[in-house]
Symmetry: D2
Subunit: 360 residues, 4 copies
Amino acid sequence: MPGNSFGEMFRLTTAGVSHGPGYLAIIDGCPPGLPLCLDDLMPDLRRRRPGQSKIVSQRQEEDVPEIISGVFEGKTDGTPIGLLFRNQDQRSQDYADIKDKYRPGHADFTFDAKYGFRDYRGGGRSSARETLCRVAAGAIAKKILSAQGIRVIGYVKQIGPIIADIADPSAVTLEQVEATPVRCQDPVKSQEMIALIEEVRKDQDSIGGICELAATGVPAGLGEPVFDKLKADLAKALLSLPAVMAFEYGAGFSVATSRGSANNDAFIKKPDRIGTETNRHGGLLGGISSGEPIVCRVAVKPTSSLPRPQRTVTRAGEATEIATKGRHDPCLLPRFVVMGEAMVALVLVDHWLRRRGQCG
Amino acid sequence: MPGNSFGEMFRLTTAGVSHGPGYLAIIDGCPPGLPLCLDDLMPDLRRRRPGQSKIVSQRQEEDVPEIISGVFEGKTDGTPIGLLFRNQDQRSQDYADIKDKYRPGHADFTFDAKYGFRDYRGGGRSSARETLCRVAAGAIAKKILSAQGIRVIGYVKQIGPIIADIADPSAVTLEQVEATPVRCQDPVKSQEMIALIEEVRKDQDSIGGICELAATGVPAGLGEPVFDKLKADLAKALLSLPAVMAFEYGAGFSVATSRGSANNDAFIKKPDRIGTETNRHGGLLGGISSGEPIVCRVAVKPTSSLPRPQRTVTRAGEATEIATKGRHDPCLLPRFVVMGEAMVALVLVDHWLRRRGQCG
Amino acid sequence: MPGNSFGEMFRLTTAGVSHGPGYLAIIDGCPPGLPLCLDDLMPDLRRRRPGQSKIVSQRQEEDVPEIISGVFEGKTDGTPIGLLFRNQDQRSQDYADIKDKYRPGHADFTFDAKYGFRDYRGGGRSSARETLCRVAAGAIAKKILSAQGIRVIGYVKQIGPIIADIADPSAVTLEQVEATPVRCQDPVKSQEMIALIEEVRKDQDSIGGICELAATGVPAGLGEPVFDKLKADLAKALLSLPAVMAFEYGAGFSVATSRGSANNDAFIKKPDRIGTETNRHGGLLGGISSGEPIVCRVAVKPTSSLPRPQRTVTRAGEATEIATKGRHDPCLLPRFVVMGEAMVALVLVDHWLRRRGQCG
Amino acid sequence: MPGNSFGEMFRLTTAGVSHGPGYLAIIDGCPPGLPLCLDDLMPDLRRRRPGQSKIVSQRQEEDVPEIISGVFEGKTDGTPIGLLFRNQDQRSQDYADIKDKYRPGHADFTFDAKYGFRDYRGGGRSSARETLCRVAAGAIAKKILSAQGIRVIGYVKQIGPIIADIADPSAVTLEQVEATPVRCQDPVKSQEMIALIEEVRKDQDSIGGICELAATGVPAGLGEPVFDKLKADLAKALLSLPAVMAFEYGAGFSVATSRGSANNDAFIKKPDRIGTETNRHGGLLGGISSGEPIVCRVAVKPTSSLPRPQRTVTRAGEATEIATKGRHDPCLLPRFVVMGEAMVALVLVDHWLRRRGQCG
């Protein structure tokens, strides 16, 4: 209830702040008998890691968790999986001069308002570093889904004005995505994106973008009809990530200018199932999966921390300026992709388990 | 857990389908001592009602609930508020010919996939008629919020290509919104919108749009830092409404093309509090309210039910056509406004109570 | 969260008070496809009803619910089951003189302390009349369990000093239990119990007792290892019933004087499964079902409402006397049996569905 | 939902097994601003520790947690408190010969039935070692309660046939309890209890007992009227502890032989509040606290692990014998006291926060 848990039957609870000793993650509800070891978690954790390329933050963090519980003789045992991440490359001194200033775009002020004080050594609990717990949990979720033939893939769709040309979201492969540091499988546009990020960084600025996420192989029938619609839980999951300011699935905002006759997807008989001719519904009808690929997009704002001075006030309300000296991503999108995938995977496993319980 | 409840401390549970005997709503967690009677619920229920103007569905439903519990001598008594809505104007025969056909854009097929059969008399559990429970609960939520100086207002921002010109979302009044049947306070654009809806209806078609929602007077400090961010719960709440395909708050999707230096809102000293000069953050920083107006938008798809024939298949997979003869809205937006307001109000009350518990 | 719901995957939410218009019950999570009609609910509701024999309250209440939702063409459809019970035989005037007095043993004083006022027309929300919602939900739960070969039976084990002689709890049949109005299958002791209840009633007094509950056919493996142990959820379920002051399972309190060598049940090979020679563990080991019959007992206090004067104070704290004139049971046990069964059944279905989700 | 979390607004989630790397505990919902350090946790953890006296298990475990998160500059910061306990004195070889045998009284068999396999190195997830997470969380809960004038105390009421003579549960002090290793403040009976435990141990046997728990200073008005009654949540909390087989509060099982006229507690005016003359209701009326001391008792079974051979079967169902060679308590009661206190404290904090949210 205090908001540090996510999911009903596959439930992630996290604790920790960016500049404390580390993070804990407890994943409750993983079915027993799943082969699991550190190697299952590391690929996605490395995709999330800072310092992996020139266009992301240069902080060097290992981010190798210790598996404290939940795995016995190489398999999950049905009891909660406990993970411990140690924080290592903390440079708290970087934050000393911001102790009494509110960084624009950050949660400094709102934390103060909520709790009466804040951990000024960085983002504290609102730091995006918390997502390493989610990415680890997401890797487990993906492994469960994979055994059901369900795959979740994300990639950068847009950075600034540069929009990738991706014909079929469900055909994108992990190899294509990982082929460029910007995680966009359009080879031409990805070069432009990288150049833009470099330019923005030299300008002591940052840039936003859009991440597209696709889940394929999802059987029809996942999701609840009313409040816990799959679209609603996906929206919550993705909006719970830092910096996300918008969510849409299928035709998304473009439905505003659509007519029903053009927007409805006609049902047709497919070789192995009933499906739809087109997929403007993004794989979700009435909030329940239709068997077509689930496709959604989120907008990620430009990094709030900037090396250049920005106007703000002190806790006492006096006008001042602030320039954040930490090592920050000039664009969050490349590292965001795996966070987005994790949240989609967590939602899908949860609903898959819920449906198995409800309907056998 | 089966998905028919919403909220933690202010919790709405609903039951019912569009063509059964009626709907039940249980609102659990309403603080004791709130004056409450039917007159508090009816204004919003009338705003939601079909048949209120020419541009909405002509079904005639009274939608007057019976208050079964939770009110004693004119005040809430702290026990759950139970509401009963009787269905009255059911024309099940309208649906007889669609028993074995999947209506495009509806949940017919996905219900079949999930449960093994469906209530073919209409949308069943996925019918938007369920929102009358939410609107009633929302009216109670608004009354609680009102006592705290918090106001929630929604209006139509866009229908098809017609975009209203609204300078300050937080200055819009209920009177302005209710002045036109299209619920858009831009007098010029609202006439154009009405004309477009009429045109679309004559064409046996439907049209989508965008609803903007604003909450003013929200104190800084509501929302949880991680999963239950206020932005995440708002997204879930609004995406849980039928036909909603997209959500954004503040600058929303436009952040994709923004630079951090332009997107960050500078903190400034205001007469009574610290605030921000601009409000691209939509009143939410780190997922927690900042004290600035909360502003968000959702895209609502064009009505899926159309009088004109659409291609589809039967349950057996044979190609066929379907034209839905029921009385449907050519545009959902005018009636949607109050549903959106209700969901925003439910989220705000919930987080307000949660914070009172946590922080005193 | 505000406490009017019970269960995770099979979730009952209730609303209503004894002297208001009626009660609502929403049962969320019932699997689809279960044949269900009023006739499935009425037998248990009649067992709970006042006025069914001379030894219980003479209030005449029909207690026939209206099924508002969740059943389509004679089967559950997977959506929430909504029930409405109208209150009929209310004699609010019986309570007029107790408006400002706290009835000993009742929740009058504690409601005042919690909410600042109370519904003085009876027990309000704390009235045992609320259990009719539970009994109806329990009847549905029993039907689900029955299809799995699981049976729940309760009976009166003790009233005052009279203890029934029941060799094997799991062999007791519903017919035996229903053969006497006191719901005790020991023919000799049940006559003594009835005589005692009559005596107590003539004496304007009341008497307590013990109800024993047994569940047979429960497969090994239900229950969670830590907090949601089956024994813990049974205890909560039964203690949530009015007037219950104690719970024990298996050897119960007698373990205090046992040695481990005598208390442990030896595992043995049974024809179809591994089981235990004896059942001092009451069918639960580590809080998880063992496959042996689950056996538990609860103590029910003597009715608090008495026709004879009792000392108390007014809301202002002045010493006074009170005699409750309503029609009350001199002994709660005969009607309690079906309430206890309902709660056991609700817990078992919930854990059965949870396990199906978790472990397939 | 998978059962490794407890509480709504003050929520403990645990992970870990007795013979793995360690345990994690996440305490979510602790109000911000509470001074907290390791010294607040250690006294209760030492009371729980094995090896503290001759009459308990001789395993030597330090059980000093590392505080991973939730405390900033010596105070709780409102974010989840994360604790890590390393397992140290594991002697897995002690358990090697029990790999294929089911220990009587343990969860070995039921784990196999539930998950398809088990961690044979000890109790695994069902080991009572998990309670060190609860005791640490309970210490935090006690500190919160203490600031509200609420105190929770437990002590040994009975071991085997020896029953302590304790006139007023609410007058017992921690010093009195800790004065003897058996944690019973009756000086005469505690010597008899110690002698009995020694005797039982020499006999390679174990003995059960009863722990009494009292909470004083609890204001009237905590607890929910229906399912989440305080009595129900206390019962669940205490039954969720290993080896607990029974729970009662106030007059408990003795109400079975009581008449209402004798059992009801008369309300009287006390100097500072309305209260009751006697306390047979154990501080709870209608499941809500009355302001009188909350008094309850639980029965704890004799340790199931015995050095003497016991009959059982192998996983294959063959008859065999087993003698557990680990270092086990001959009587669980002395160490149980602090576990019981912890669970009572967790329930009280949770309901105190809930009420603050609901009623302000």
